[in-house]
């Protein structure tokens, strides 16, 4: 639903005035009656033509009104839902009191990346699912919009030039290598540097930021925000070496044994695309979501006037999968000019791992959902370009051990779709490069690095965290793991 920005801010002003004009304090009942603030967004018809951010962010009045909805629960169940235990009632109260600076300081005690997490956290299954307001109103969508408030204060701070470079203690002479530059690594670098240790960050790509740069599209997470975090690291005196593949340009063990690093953190992510293993998957026009998104985002194929890296022009794109990555790929395909974008998913919408908001946005942008269907083969023309996708229909069978009803193929339900681009978005496994070049490091059978309660690997002085440990997870979990590993590294070096 497209909401009018002017209307939204006018409504918020009215609501705020009503609150401020009251003489008696708000009772919980009154707070629950305050209208939940919708997120202003670019209209679907506009945003499909550009790469700019879809959600525009709260106005200050909206933020205040939304903050007044919080009941300031004594037991604060929301905090338990947040993987890094942000003092949610604390920062929300500060917003209600228009102390935006204080609000962001409160958040930053627990989270390093509020502008990012406020945007991409799956709040509806974390902090907001626990929120009392949502529980009482029996609708998680009616919970206090904690993520949006977090984003608001972080943006407010950035837009008002109020970001301060964290203080760094006197140099200790110790050196730490941080491998990768995603959220886990950014967190480790900052936390370790603060203690006065020298930090060198190694990134394989030409730009730091990890999945936040190459995977999550601009329209959900503007790259300028990620780069702001990176420049803060630089301002703290962290040496960032791009184009440096640890394991190839230098082995991990050499960094420790020969180059004088006292400890290392591995945050190399889950960058190994899974394929369907169906016939025709290597035809021209079949991409992994990683490749497609990297071409569009990091390599800027969207800006075809200026960028050298192309994607194939497509009339009809099919995305296979139902997670965030699939939604991102489908929505990029819309913006890359595909006339039709279809999303094929084996189960029903209820089982889709993607966030509700992303599913809604994708639908608004014209992505057509094919549920209980799955691709079984692709075929191509004489030039080896994909032109047909063969699919099967499914129905939900008996619940399996996990209680989820299993999709079972319907016999004889095969049908063909005419396509010219297929994007496989069925997940990622762990990047095996460090494991291959550092066999001493123990991994589990999924290739994830095994760590103890302190984030330490089986190799001395080597720590790990984020997707390389958790499997494909989330930004906030990666950050939380980074915090934990940084604390252990700081303890080791103390």
């Amino acid at each position: 639903m497209d909401l009018d920005y002017a209307q939204i801010s006018a409504d918020a002003k009215t609501a705020l005035d009503a609150i401020l004009n009251r003489t008696d304090p708000l009772k919980p009942k009154d707070r629950m009656a305050i209208p939940a603030q919708p997120m202003p967004a670019q209209p679907a018809s506009e945003r499909v033509k550009n790469m700019e951010e879809v959600a525009l962010g709260y106005t200050p009045e909206q933020a205040q009104v939304e903050a007044e909805r919080c009941l300031q629960c004594k037991n604060a169940p929301c905090i338990k839902g947040c993987p890094v235990a942000i003092d949610i009632p604390g920062f929300v109260k500060a917003i209600a009191e228009t102390e935006f600076g204080k609000a962001v300081d409160t958040i930053k005690q627990s989270s390093l990346l509020p502008a990012i997490c406020g945007r991409v956290c799956p709040q509806e299954v974390q902090c907001q699912v626990e929120c009392t307001v949502g529980k009482v109103l029996k609708d998680v969508e009616a919970s206090v919009s904690i993520g949006r408030l977090e984003r608001f204060v972080a943006d407010y701070e950035r837009e008002h030039g109020a970001i301060e470079t964290p203080a760094v203690k006197p140099e200790t002479g110790k050196k730490v290598a941080v491998i990768g530059s995603g959220p886990a690594s950014i967190t480790v670098a900052a936390d370790v540097r603060r203690e006065g240790h020298a930090v060198t960050m190694f990134e394989a790509f030409h730009k730091p930021g990890g999945v936040m740069m190459y995977g999550i599209p601009e329209f959900r997470l503007p790259k300028a925000i990620v780069q702001q975090e990176i420049s803060t690291l630089r301002d703290m005196g962290i040496d960032i070496r791009t184009n440096f593949v640890v394991g190839r340009t230098r082995r991990l063990t050499d960094l420790l044994e020969e180059d004088g690093f006292d400890a290392a953190f591995v945050g190399t992510g889950a960058g190994l695309p899974k394929f369907m293993n169906i016939p025709g998957e290597n035809l021209v026009g079949v991409y992994s979501a990683n490749e497609y998104l990297t071409r569009v985002n990091l390599m800027r194929a969207f800006d075809s006037e200026n960028a050298d890296t192309p994607v194939l022009p497509s009339k009809c794109t099919v995305v296979l999968g139902g997670g965030n990555v699939a939604m991102d790929a489908a929505r990029c395909a819309v913006r890359m000019g595909a006339e039709e974008v279809h999303l094929v998913y084996r189960r029903t919408e209820k089982e889709m791992p993607a966030r509700n908001e992303e599913i809604e946005h994708a639908k608004e942008e014209g992505v057509q959902f094919h549920l209980l269907e799955n691709a079984i083969a692709a075929t191509g023309d004489e030039y080896g370009r994909v032109d047909t996708l063969t699919c099967l229909r499914y129905e939900l069978g008996e619940p399996d051990a996990s209680g989820r009803r299993r999709p079972v193929p319907i016999e004889g339900s095969e049908f063909n779709m005419a396509v010219d681009c297929v994007i496989v978005a069925i997940g990622n496994d762990s990047n095996p490069l460090i494991k291959q070049t550092t066999p001493e490091i123990e991994t589990n059978r999924w290739g994830n690095i095994v760590v103890d309660d302190n984030g330490k690997t089986t190799l001395d002085c080597v720590y790990a965290g984020g997707d390389i440990v958790l499997g494909a997870a989330t930004v906030i979990l990666a950050m939380g793991e980074g915090r934990r590993a940084a604390a252990s590294i700081n303890a080791q070096l103390a």
Partner: protein
């Protein structure tokens, strides 16, 4: 960092540069490559083989054909300029051991990646027979360097302007008929040349290694854009290769994937590779 320390025009549109890159020079082994990107914001990332390197002096050598946007931009850089982004060494090093007699076949620009491999095979005690080919005399590169390594050097040109008038598959076949048979063939060049080299050696059962030049982005196994079909499996050229058993590679699929963006790149020079490849194809068709 990454400063160009010298530059040479080897043949029509083929350049050789040496770049100051001590980290890469220290770690690299024959068969490995780098990824180059010139404009950090808008540039394309392209793979180029490390043709030679000196760990003590800290440089690597790249030999490339200016076929499209990035290679032409690279050709425009001069001594003292920096290659903005250079990452490597990537890929699996060549498996080097003493196979007895080894036939090294290089076509066109493929002689560049072949050079360090031939050198290493020679150092491992192999008898190295080298076959290098090009469309004509002007396009032939690294003849002296190859001569210095090889026990025997056979030069072919398509038009007979130099050496034997033949496609490289002709002397390759003769070498396979030798007694004792060669222990290994390494063939690097345009995909169609590698395909027909593999077809040539197949009846003789001589293990044939090819080095695939697929389109790449990250070069670290993250995107899958470089994937090829090898036997029953899908392999990523950047991390599983670039070298594979030529008898198992699905070259037709690889060639199609390589041509995926052709209309978008619209590059006249690309025909150089193609012409040579087409000549081989025509020859083969004529023989069939």
């Amino acid at each position: 960092m990454n400063t160009i320390i010298d530059k040479k025009l080897l043949s029509d549109g083929v350049y050789q540069i040496r770049v100051d890159a001590p980290h890469i020079a220290r770690e690299r082994k024959p068969g490995q490559f780098v990824i180059v990107q010139l404009d950090t914001h808008f540039g394309e990332r392209i793979p180029l083989t490390i043709a030679d390197a000196d760990a003590d002096e800290g440089w690597i050598m790249l030999i490339f054909q200016a076929v499209g946007k990035t290679t032409q931009d690279l050709a425009r850089l001069n001594v003292g300029d920096a290659v903005n982004n250079l990452v490597g060494p990537l890929g699996q090093p060549t498996h080097i051991e003493n196979f007895g007699t080894v036939i090294c076949v290089g076509g066109g620009i493929g002689v560049a990646p072949l050079h360090p491999i031939a050198k290493a095979l020679k150092a491992a005690g192999n008898r190295v027979i080298t076959i290098i080919g090009a469309r004509n005399r002007e396009l032939l590169i690294l003849e002296d360097e190859m001569k210095a390594i090889a026990d025997e050097l056979i030069v072919c040109t398509d038009d007979g302007s130099y050496g034997r008038k033949a496609l490289v598959t002709e002397p390759l076949k003769e070498c396979c008929e030798l007694d004792p048979a060669p222990g290994l063939v390494v063939a690097i060049g345009p995909p169609v040349m590698m395909k027909f080299c593999a077809e040539t050696t197949r009846p003789f059962g001589v293990h044939t290694v090819v080095s695939l030049n697929t389109i790449m982005i990250d070069g670290t196994g993250m995107c899958g854009g470089c994937r090829v079909t090898v036997g029953e499996d899908t392999k990523f050229v950047c991390v599983d290769g670039p070298e594979f058993d030529g008898h198992l590679v699905d070259f037709d699929n690889m060639i199609q994937r390589l041509g995926a963006y052709k209309t978008q790149e619209q590059d006249a020079h690309a025909c150089n590779l193609d012409k040579q490849a087409n000549a081989l194809q025509a020859e083969q068709d004529a023989n069939a």
